[in-house]
């Protein structure tokens, strides 16, 4: 790619990893301490640190706080996160004192399914007693969603299966579901605030509210998004076209961050 000959705005496809990572990175502009998962979140936090938020603090569930990785981390327990880090805590300290203790501003997650309230399924597709697909399960997500200040979810797909009217299994509940179980058990965190899909950005400004489509990626319409969402999804009055990544963002991802295309697909 020769940046000089091109418009500053890239034409990468909205469904591409680059597009999703750039949209996600921009969401981190004014955020503090981020609990970063593996995959696209890793790219997004790295890009955010190089662009919109040089002071972003990276915390990993493996116990690393204040990571300064010398290269792209291949997983949340990669040795590059440890060498030169400010601290490595036990997992009891990380999950108990840092996360459950309330020090994480943003959790950054993937999911197979998200519902209209921002509850997540990362466990099973189909009947959980005999699943069609055994997904990875809860991991740290069941702790991140209730305890982080807010959560940003990146979805690799946007269709009626991944944004269903009813989850096949609820691994990580929204505050709405916690309230339904017991109004006194509402978690401290907001739950999912933002969902980034290959079609749109959905936001949930109210802790007990629904996801609302606020940004639709270039080339797609409200009807496209509604047709791909299993519930009657709300569209913001102020809905806009998602700003495209700049070529500089794309170049950073391809030529400096993920040079081996580990997460970029």
């Amino acid at each position: 790619m020769n940046q000089a000959r091109q418009s500053p705005v890239s034409d990468v496809a909205p469904s591409s990893s680059e597009f999703l990572a750039v949209v996600a990175a921009r969401e981190l502009r004014d955020k503090g301490r981020v609990f970063a998962g593996v995959g696209l979140p890793t790219l997004a936090v790295d890009l955010a640190r190089r662009t919109v938020n040089p002071n972003i603090e990276l915390v990993y569930e493996s116990g690393v706080c204040g990571a300064h990785p010398a290269g792209l981390a291949e997983g949340i327990a990669d040795s590059v996160l440890v060498s030169g880090a400010e601290s490595v805590l036990t997992m009891q300290a990380l999950f108990g004192y840092v996360l459950q203790g309330g020090s994480i501003d943003v959790g950054f997650l993937g999911a197979a399914q998200v519902d209209r309230w921002g509850s997540l399924n990362t466990s099973f597709i189909g009947d959980w007693r005999r699943p069609t697909v055994r997904l990875p399960g809860a991991g740290g997500a069941a702790e991140i969603v209730p305890n982080a200040g807010e959560c940003i979810v990146i979805m690799r797909r946007h269709d009626r299966g991944s944004l269903p009217s009813q989850l096949d299994f609820c691994t990580s509940p929204s505050p709405v579901r916690a309230y339904a179980e017991d109004p006194r058990m509402v978690p401290p965190g907001h739950g999912v605030s933002t969902v980034i899909t290959p079609m749109a950005v959905l936001r949930r400004p109210d802790k007990f509210g629904e996801l609302v489509v606020t940004d639709i990626h270039p080339g797609l319409t409200v009807s496209d998004v509604k047709a791909a969402t299993a519930w009657d999804v709300m569209i913001a009055d102020s809905v806009r076209e998602t700003p495209r990544p700049s070529w500089e963002d794309v170049r950073l991802l391809r030529e400096e961050i993920d040079t081996v295309r580990l997460y970029l697909r």
Binding site: E61, E74, D78, A138, N147, F169
Partner: protein, 314 residues
């Protein structure tokens, strides 16, 4: 001091302490995963094990493929960024070749289970699961009243393995185990078990350990067997010794798609080899060399030593 050595060889340690039907914990969160010990369990043909491991990655997939495990206690069923565990999926999704029982928690649920097990607590409270389907999936996730008037809270039960097996950077012959880098829940997993086996990159002199007592994560009295086993965490890594073999993690995704190729891999890399030395020798030398790391030293701190003259001075 005439204390006994706990140093033994891997074959003896597994033969003595790991028996059919036991609950066996192999921990290591991405780091210091006890692969050599897991392979020795495969080699000795253990059956009907309950395997406890927060992240049953490809080590679990191998143990299950080999038929050692009938029950899995875990919190994340995938190999990090390297994809699915196909043997686990075959068994859970289709009972192929047999059913696998699964007892499932979140990460913090497992960590708290180890702490409860280590401290002999009947349960451990955790601020997760409200509104989740997890308690329906696993009836061992229960609720208690807060006697101080707050809302109810979920609790998880203690986990007490018969044997916990870990890998560490170093230990002395008495069994004091030192680790650095990612420590996961290894200390709790060790204290929660009846028997603890630790494979290490190096058995070092007691003076080395005693120069830095805060580095001892597991004290000797909690350890039953120490096995010197360099490279024992491959394809995972040992901070400061060798890096993770990420390529192998990706390769396993392909190998394990087909059960017969997974069995063939076990034949070549486990059953046909006497132990870890042979395994490392069979690795492509550039592959192993490519995992070497450059130095990044911790530096030394001073623990101080009382000068005799000050003792009791007033």
């Amino acid at each position: 001091m005439a204390a006994r050595t706990k140093v033994t060889d891997l074959r003896s340690a597994i033969a003595e302490h790991v028996h059919d039907g036991m609950t066996v914990c192999l921990e290591g969160f991405g780091h210091l995963i006890p692969f050599a010990a897991g392979h020795e369990i495969v080699r000795q043909g253990r059956r009907d094990l309950t395997l406890c491991r927060m992240t049953p990655d490809l080590l679990a997939d191998q143990l299950i493929t080999a038929g050692c495990v009938t029950r899995l206690v875990a919190s994340f069923f995938a190999s990090g960024s390297a994809g699915s565990l196909h043997e686990v999926r075959r068994r859970v999704e289709r009972g192929d070749p047999e059913q696998l029982d699964v007892e499932e928690y979140s990460h913090y649920g497992m960590i708290c289970r180890y702490q409860a097990g280590a401290a002999k607590l009947p349960f451990f409270p955790i601020r997760s699961y409200a509104g989740s389907d997890m308690p329906q999936l696993n009836p061992q996730i229960r609720k208690v009243n807060d006697p101080f008037g707050g809302p109810d809270i979920y609790v998880v039960p203690p986990l007490n393995p018969d044997v916990t097996i870990l890998h560490a950077q170093r230990a002395d012959r008495l069994g004091n185990v030192q680790m650095w880098g990612i420590l996961g829940a290894q200390q709790e997993a060790a204290f929660s078990a009846d028997v603890v086996i630790v494979t290490v990159e190096e058995v070092v002199d007691e003076d080395v350990v005693r120069s830095d007592p805060n580095r001892t994560i597991i004290p000797a009295h909690a350890v039953d067997a120490i096995v010197e086993c360099p490279g024992g965490a491959h394809p995972s890594y040992a901070q400061g010794y060798y890096d993770r073999d990420n390529a192998f993690y990706r390769e396993w995704e392909a190998i394990s798609r087909d059960r017969s190729s997974a069995l063939q891999w076990l034949q070549e890399w486990v059953y046909d080899l006497p132990g870890r030395d042979a395994y490392l020798s069979q690795l492509d030398p550039p592959r192993w060399a490519g995992l070497a790391v450059a130095d990044r030293e911790s530096g030394s701190v001073n623990y101080g030593r009382r000068r005799t003259s000050t003792l009791g001075q007033s």
